[in-house]
């Protein structure tokens, strides 16, 4: 609390390990950013700023030169230099390493040391979003220390350059940090809290109750209902923040899972008319949620929302149903995970009104992911955080280009998006994205839903700014 200049964060995700390469969950990695740093960081309003790299220059479309910060030491005293960056990249590129999400780093081809504090990074293809991405991924490991430990050991006692040091870790339960007194003179400022604790409380109600009871100072991931409830507590402030996360209802127009009703365009039209997306967003996410026309975040470059839009109109929906091959309706399972199941359940309510007997098929995240990429989910709620990247190329390759998550299977769209993702020319890119999203909307190849809102609540007196990408950097906060 404010009295002892500490903060306890009621967190929603379990942390099994503090080794960032043992998990690919953005929310888990967010906690690790207190300890380990990237080359760059992103400000609350979305700009990439120097962190371990002080400056960078694009040499060509696939080459960037970075100058690294001098005089930085890891928590255990090891000095930071180009070797650490080279080592880190070598680690994650090593095919034998048990690293869960090597895909995240596919855009990096290699890194070479050009001086003790300078490196040259080669990209595997022109990647316009590379700088933005590097502010969200690539935790720099201490090469000597990491070499001497195994991955699990490092996961229990991580060593980094970050503003906070880990002083206690109970897997799945909590992490305790202490301020890094030797932190360098960073662009964003200095860490404020003496102690920082991240306490895992998976159940939202528990988080809420612990906040009101005073054991926890800061919570996130609340529903609009929770927020409403908290407005009554005088010593608690609530704030809604944006995110780069969008949700869409993935359909199977290309029969990837076999014959199914969503192959029928009339069915798709009926569905998109039947769902009042604005209300769903408001009720499930909050007033700040935006109903989407394209499945990407309006803040992202290349996200064309100006496409064929569909109003909420049950009568029309029923007409389309009547015209479809399923005038008497059919049964449908909507696969969803975690809190997205609530959106799915709301959707079932709408679909039932036009004769589609929809049920929710709730899975655990990884189970859902496994089945989705295996092509076994005809209808599912997809929430995509884009890892906070402000460019649609962080979403299209996964779902709308020829990839494991592509249920659209349209050659034209595929080609447009692929090209747009590998050129630098902004205008051409915009043109191509417009074509792609336009066709997706015309054909109703999926049903864009809403943007996600991140809701926070904390004890009054905290100086906190929500991040525009939905990944708040708590180390920047402090008591007023």
């Amino acid at each position: 609390g404010q009295a002892d200049n500490s903060l306890v964060w009621g967190y929603d995700t379990q942390l099994e390990s503090m080794n960032p390469y043992a998990t690919n969950k953005g929310k888990a990695q967010l906690v690790m950013r207190n300890v380990l740093e990237h080359l760059l960081y992103r400000t609350a309003d979305g700009q990439a700023k120097p962190a371990l790299a002080t400056s960078w220059t694009w040499v060509d479309a696939t080459t960037i030169d970075f100058t690294l910060r001098e005089g930085v030491t890891f928590h255990n005293g090891e000095a930071f230099d180009a070797d650490d960056v080279v080592y880190t990249v070598a680690q994650i590129k090593n095919p034998d390493a048990k690293i869960s999400a090597q895909g995240d780093y596919k855009f990096i081809e290699s890194v070479e040391k050009t001086g003790q504090y300078s490196i040259r990074m080669k990209l595997s293809k022109p990647t316009p979003s590379a700088i933005d991405r590097l502010s969200q991924t690539l935790f720099i490991l201490p090469n000597e220390t990491y070499e001497a430990m195994d991955a699990a050991e490092f996961g229990r006692a991580p060593v980094g350059t970050g503003p906070y040091k880990v002083t206690g870790f109970e897997a799945g339960q909590m992490v305790e940090f202490e301020r890094n007194e030797a932190y360098y003179d960073a662009e964003w400022g200095q860490p404020q809290f003496d102690k920082l604790t991240v306490l895992t409380l998976p159940d939202p109600q528990t988080r809420l109750a612990e906040l009101t009871s005073g054991r926890v100072d800061f919570v996130w991931g609340l529903s609009p209902d929770d927020m409403m409830q908290l407005t009554m507590s005088p010593d608690i402030e609530t704030v809604s923040g944006d995110s780069t996360t969008v949700t869409f209802l993935s359909l199977d127009p290309n029969a990837r899972t076999g014959d199914n009703p969503t192959q029928d365009k009339n069915v798709r039209l009926a569905m998109i008319h039947a769902i009042d997306r604005a209300v769903v967003g408001q009720v499930m996410q909050g007033a700040a949620s935006i109903a989407l026309e394209s499945s990407c975040h309006p803040k992202q470059f290349g996200c064309i929302q100006d496409v064929a839009g569909y109003e909420y109109n049950v009568e029309k929906a029923k007409e389309y149903m009547a015209a479809s091959a399923y005038p008497d309706g059919f049964e449908m399972k909507i696969a969803a995970f975690t809190e997205n199941a609530r959106i799915a359940e709301a959707v079932t309510g709408y679909l039932r009104k036009i004769g589609i007997e929809a049920t929710v098929d709730q899975r655990e995240t990884t189970a859902w992911v496994k089945d989705y990429f295996a092509g076994e989910i005809p209808v599912g709620i997809v929430p995509w955080p884009s890892n906070g990247v402000y460019d649609v190329s962080s979403i299209t390759p996964f779902f709308f280009e020829e990839g494991q998550g592509d249920y659209i299977g349209d050659a034209e769209i595929n080609a447009w998006f692929a090209e747009a993702g590998s050129i630098i020319d902004e205008e051409e890119r915009l043109r191509l994205y417009a074509l792609g999203f336009g066709k997706m909307a015309d054909e109703v190849l999926n049903i864009p839903m809403v943007t996600k809102v991140t809701n926070y609540a904390y004890r009054s007196g905290l100086d906190f700014t929500p991040a525009a990408d939905g990944y708040p950097l708590i180390y920047m906060a402090g008591w007023k």
Binding site: G103, G172, P202, T366, A367
Partner: protein
């Protein structure tokens, strides 16, 4: 006695082997794990590589044998999701579950045995009737509901007890109460029925005929025989509780074995699920052996070979 013990242990070992095979089979049939591990953005090559790294491309029998071999050397493998040693994961969480189980079991026993004995002494009295009523009610209330009601009462309305976590001893109060409430009816009925049974037995009449005081009759002659069934059921219940009171742990966000197993199941973290099932089974089977031994200690009939 020795032979009896050895025989029980061999039986227990056979059961454990069978359980391990079932656990392995079950987990294997959840499908291709490499895809799940790879995460959202893994490519086909990534998946193939993971499959190879983790030996998922081998046949079932091969995988089982190599796993079993490692288990015999005390290596339960690593979690696919945290790279953490599974044994460490389990041992870290065991204290939470164990504390909870012991607390709730003791609480349950301390209330139900005296109550059961008292009920048996005056069957159909008001105390007996209300205890029985309570136990019927107790059996009908879902434990998570009881937990939620407790939270509502002590956590939200009165705010006198922490509603989650394991920070202090107070954190265990509500979960233990919830579980004790759950085991209470079983023990109450058993000790009551056992006592009624014993009190009407011939040897109690013999003891009375010897002119012994009612207290001696009750505590020396009756109680010991009456709690025999309670002892065996209590150890079995203890096994169940240790096996993870998944529901209660999830209601109170207690980071115990139950929650570990539950999340591991959900994301098909093979090594963890296998290990938890195996360890829970071993604990259960061992507890059964302990229960047999306890029974044997209390009941000399069981051990001697005529």
């Amino acid at each position: 006695m020795g032979a009896y013990f050895v025989r029980k242990l061999i039986e227990a070992a056979a059961v454990c082997v069978a359980v391990s095979i079932i656990a392995f089979l079950l987990v294997q049939s959840t499908g291709d794990l490499a895809v799940a591990m790879g995460g959202l953005d893994a490519s086909a090559e990534d998946t193939a590589r993971l499959r190879e790294v983790y030996g998922l491309d081998q046949s079932f029998v091969q995988q089982y044998l190599s796993w079993a071999g490692r288990v015999l050397h005390g290596d339960l493998g690593q979690s696919y999701f945290s790279q953490e040693d599974v044994l460490t994961l389990i041992l870290e969480r065991l204290p939470v579950t164990a504390t909870l189980s012991v607390a709730s079991l003791l609480l349950g026993l301390l209330i139900s045995i005296p109550a059961g004995v008292y009920c048996a002494m005056k069957p159909d009295g008001w105390f007996d009737r209300s205890c029985l009523g309570l136990s019927v009610l107790g059996q009908a209330m879902p434990s998570y509901w009881v937990g939620l009601l407790l939270i509502l009462l002590f956590g939200v309305t009165f705010r006198i007890l922490p509603i989650s976590g394991t920070q202090s001893a107070a954190s265990y109060v509500m979960p233990s109460l919830t579980l004790a409430w759950f085991v209470f009816p079983v023990f109450l009925r058993l000790s009551r029925a056992g006592m009624i049974d014993v009190l009407s037995s011939d040897y109690i009449r013999t003891a009375r005929a010897k002119g012994l005081s009612e207290r001696t009759v009750l505590f020396k002659h009756a109680l010991r025989n009456a709690i025999l069934p309670v002892v065996s059921v209590a150890t079995v219940q203890f096994g169940f509780l240790l096996g993870g009171s998944i529901v209660v742990e999830s209601v109170f966000s207690l980071n115990g074995i139950g929650l570990l197993a539950w999340s591991a199941i959900q994301r098909s973290d093979y090594p963890v699920v296998q290990a938890v099932v195996l360890i829970v089974a071993i604990i259960f089977v061992l507890l059964n052996v302990v229960s047999d031994l306890l029974n044997a200690a209390l009941d000399p009939r069981l051990t001697s070979e005529q």
